[in-house]
């Protein structure tokens, strides 16, 4: 039977590749699970029939191949190993591999950035819950209270709206506060202050007052943290006029963005991700700042432009490995600046590849991807050979169950599928 023949050949291929990369196995089984949930089977069959893919019989997109269920259990372990593989992949061409530098974890890079800025400018202060004595719930401000005192690293009571407003008032009168939301979701309570005051006061005061605040915190889907701690809120803030939004993804750009955000005269919202705090990378010893408005070229390529940010960058890079093995050459850009978009880097890429895939963790409805799709269509419609494909997370509150949580966000196998479809 057709199916059995394919599975047999697939098994052979898999055993060949399993020695090459464990992450690869993860991709396979994840894909089948994902495909099962999303009912991609019809498209899957189509893709199987297509001749563009060099390995048409790979069960990447199979939903019927239940014998793979045996491998689903293995995928759990493979999932854990894949995380390490992700960490190892952060050898970023932009991280100045030529210089010796020092190795840091991402949260340490953020702390270095904070500390350097606090050292440089005595008006920089931190407001947040548990930032002082506790050192920050993700240890980003560890040790800073001992060094700079309780007033510069202020442990606030649990009153997000008010202490964010306090940061606005302090910024208006000369300080440069960094507000930490213990989780980005808590900043929903501060939405009034962020939208009306942070964003608007420079304008409504006719330019008299600047609000140089940085609002930062971890967001995104973690490991079974439940719906309210796993929110993807970039979309909620993006319409606020007057603020800039950036998302960090590597220790290098985390430190650079933190410093740039603190130095910026505009209010900046810096999105970090709960699962990325332990990424390790070698970053330069000397001081550096990264531009708040520019995107980062992660992997140059020719066939397709993949735009992503934050954690999805790693899913994309994982998928890129698969794609490269399949013969594709994706260009991966970490957009970093969620508001405003760096249309120059993005545009140049589109002019080269003519196909765009957006991979994001944000919600489908009104998300960053939706805005980006609109912006690209407006500006680069002539250069597109195919409609923009946008892979976002599902419009659901993040479920607690691990299986459901995994399929809430975009998985590398979906990315591979999408690229294959785009490049047909």
């Amino acid at each position: 039977m057709y199916q059995w023949r394919m599975i047999r050949s697939a098994t052979a291929i898999l055993s060949f590749f399993s020695k090459a990369s464990i992450a690869y196995t993860f991709v396979e089984t994840e894909a089948s699970m994902a495909a099962a949930s999303f009912g991609v089977s019809s498209a899957a069959v189509q893709a199987v029939k297509s001749s563009a893919s060099p390995l048409p019989s790979l069960p990447v997109i199979r939903s019927e191949a239940r014998p793979i269920s045996g491998r689903i259990n293995r995928s759990r372990n493979a999932g854990k190993i894949a995380t390490h593989a992700v960490a190892a992949q952060t050898e970023n061409p932009a991280s100045a591999a030529s210089k010796p530098g020092h190795e840091v974890l991402l949260f340490e890079a953020l702390r270095e950035g904070l500390e350097e800025e606090m050292e440089r400018d005595p008006r920089v202060c931190i407001f947040g819950e548990d930032v002082g004595h506790y050192g920050g719930s993700y240890k980003v401000s560890k040790g800073l209270a001992d060094k700079y005192g309780d007033l510069r690293v202020l442990d606030t009571p649990i009153a997000e709206n008010s202490f964010t407003g306090m940061a606005v008032g302090a910024a208006m009168t000369g300080l440069r506060p960094v507000v930490e939301g213990m989780n980005m979701g808590f900043l929903l309570l501060a939405f009034n202050q962020i939208s009306d005051n942070c964003g608007m006061l420079h304008y409504t005061s006719g330019g008299q007052f600047t609000i140089p605040t940085v609002i930062r915190g971890p967001g995104g889907v973690g490991r079974q943290l439940g719906a309210e701690h796993s929110q993807r809120l970039e979309s909620y803030f993006q319409s606020i006029p007057g603020i800039q939004m950036v998302a960090c993804s590597t220790p290098y750009n985390a430190k650079g963005l933190m410093k740039a955000a603190i130095r910026s005269e505009n209010p900046v919202v810096l999105f970090e991700h709960v699962l990325l705090y332990n990424l390790k990378e070698r970053i330069p010893d000397e001081e550096y700042v990264v531009s708040l408005e520019e995107a980062e070229m992660v992997r140059p390529g020719e066939h397709v432009t993949i735009l992503t940010y934050s954690r999805m960058r790693y899913h994309v890079m994982q998928a890129a490995k698969t794609l490269v093995n399949k013969g594709y050459d994706p260009e991966v850009i970490d957009i970093r600046s969620l508001k405003p978009f760096d249309l120059y880097t993005i545009g140049n890429s589109i002019k080269k590849t003519h196909k765009v895939l957006i991979v994001e963790e944000c919600m489908r409805t009104g998300g960053i991807g939706a805005s980006l799709t609109a912006a690209i269509n407006e500006n680069f419609n002539d250069y597109l050979d195919a409609p923009i494909v946008c892979l976002s997370s599902q419009d659901v509150p993040t479920p607690y169950a691990g299986t459901l949580e995994e399929v809430t966000v975009v998985q590398p196998s979906q990315i591979v599928t999408a690229v294959e479809q785009l490049c047909r």
Binding site: G169, T204, N379
Partner: protein, 432 residues
């Protein structure tokens, strides 16, 4: 530190208008709550506690020792006047400026020179004058949408405020703010907020900066912040959160409640479980003071103490000023809900007439001097209207100008240059 003053006498409202007695006789909440005009409302909404019970709960206020001392001292004679002639004239002028300005606003609104939501301050001038005239230029004031007079008292020229209301580019916020968003960096007016309660955290932040400058930057800083807000705001979360933080860190701030008993059409008594707002101060560890907000001298006395406390680093104070607005909530409010008898009652307690009476009775000023001030103010107001009329409207290129302090925030366009470098940007025709 804070003592409860038990005043067994039921103070009738007329007593509070008497300037010859001690100005620090803090009129109890009973004086306005027991007035017959509100009696009906009390009965209908609070069947649990009868008015009689309320009347007997005559705890006046919790206030600091200094105020109490002054009360004892000056109750003896009229010799210790509360203000000098110069001070009296300054207060008078400021209140007349506020009143005349607001009346002119109403006229201009009905003539179609300004639009939107305009909230007038008629009747509450004593609070603004009483507090703000004690401040230095570096002290900050944060207000609500009813902010014209706060800006004027703080020193923002009437011309700039009127221009702002007309939406002209010479306004204090270049016409971008409007009636509800009066800002002035020069005079440290930190707004002007449309949502109630929104300004209180901002004020707390400004007070925090003052403390930070003193303790971290080691500057010689004793700047104080005043946060003005209404009775409706006192049921809002931001109010309580900021009371907590201000008391916790002993921030140099004074929370001034302009309790005019009405939040648009919602009576304070119908929306608040315990209408005595000053009581909420001690709950957070700061003194709560109730003062007759229709009497500028009483307000000034309390303000001196509260601002002094803040300057000395002793922490925040909550001051509840019993006041009243003679007009509706805004110029769009028909003001049909309030009892005309209540309005008439408070009209007899007009702060300007009270101050006038005090000045005459104590021979601090005569009719001619006050008339001269009236005339001067009229001229200022006329001039401000003329100025605003003649000022240019904002040009189109002003639209995107102050969205970002650093205009690179508009991002990089497809051509690789920052959008703000695009010449079309300044013409207001660029697409972002």
């Amino acid at each position: 530190m804070a003592k409860i003053i038990h005043n067994p006498l039921v103070l009738s409202s007329s007593r509070s208008a008497e300037k010859s007695e001690s100005c620090c006789k803090l009129s109890g909440p009973t004086s306005f709550m027991s007035s017959k005009f509100l009696g009906n409302k009390l009965l209908s909404t609070n069947s649990a506690t009868s008015p009689a019970t309320r009347r007997s709960a005559a705890v006046v206020a919790v206030s600091s020792d200094v105020v109490k001392e002054k009360k004892l001292k000056s109750s003896s004679s009229l010799a210790n006047l509360l203000i000098t002639k110069e001070e009296g004239l300054v207060l008078y002028e400021d209140m007349i400026l506020g009143r005349a300005f607001e009346d002119m606003c109403a006229q201009m609104y009905y003539r179609g020179k300004m639009f939107g939501f305009v909230h007038l301050y008629n009747g509450q001038e004593a609070v603004s004058t009483g507090f703000i005239k004690l401040l230095k230029q570096e002290d900050c004031v944060v207000s609500t949408y009813r902010d014209h007079v706060h800006a004027l008292s703080k020193g923002v020229p009437a011309r700039q405020v009127m221009s702002e209301l007309f939406g002209k580019t010479t306004g204090c916020c270049r016409g971008q703010g409007g009636s509800m968003h009066m800002f002035s960096k020069e005079h440290n007016v930190l707004g002007g907020f449309a949502f109630i309660g929104e300004g209180i955290p901002v004020a707390t932040g400004a007070a925090f900066t003052s403390k930070y400058k003193r303790e971290v930057l080691k500057e010689d800083c004793d700047e104080v912040t005043l946060a003005f807000f209404g009775d409706g705001t006192c049921n809002n979360g931001q109010f309580f959160e900021c009371l907590n933080m201000a008391a916790l860190w002993k921030l140099p701030i004074v929370f001034v409640v302009e309790n005019n008993l009405w939040a648009i059409g919602m009576s304070h008594l119908r929306s608040t479980s315990d209408p005595q707002i000053w009581k909420k101060g001690p709950a957070f560890g700061m003194p709560g003071v109730h003062v007759d907000g229709m009497d500028v001298l009483k307000v000034r006395e309390v303000a001196q103490e509260a601002i002094g406390r803040a300057r000395r680093g002793e922490g925040p104070t909550l001051v509840e000023c019993e006041t009243y607005r003679f007009r509706g909530h805004s110029l769009a409010d028909p003001d049909e809900l309030r009892d005309p008898a209540e309005k008439a009652h408070y009209a007899t307690r007009d702060p300007i007439t009270s101050l006038k009476k005090y000045l005459f009775e104590n021979n601090l000023a005569n009719e001619a001097e006050l008339k001269a001030i009236d005339k001067k103010i009229d001229e200022i107001i006329e001039d401000s209207v003329e100025f605003a009329d003649e000022s240019p409207v904002p040009a189109r290129n002003q639209l995107l100008e102050n969205v970002f302090a650093d205009p690179r925030g508009f991002g990089i366009g497809p051509d690789g240059k920052y959008r703000c470098e695009d010449p079309k940007f300044t013409q207001g025709t660029a697409q972002v």
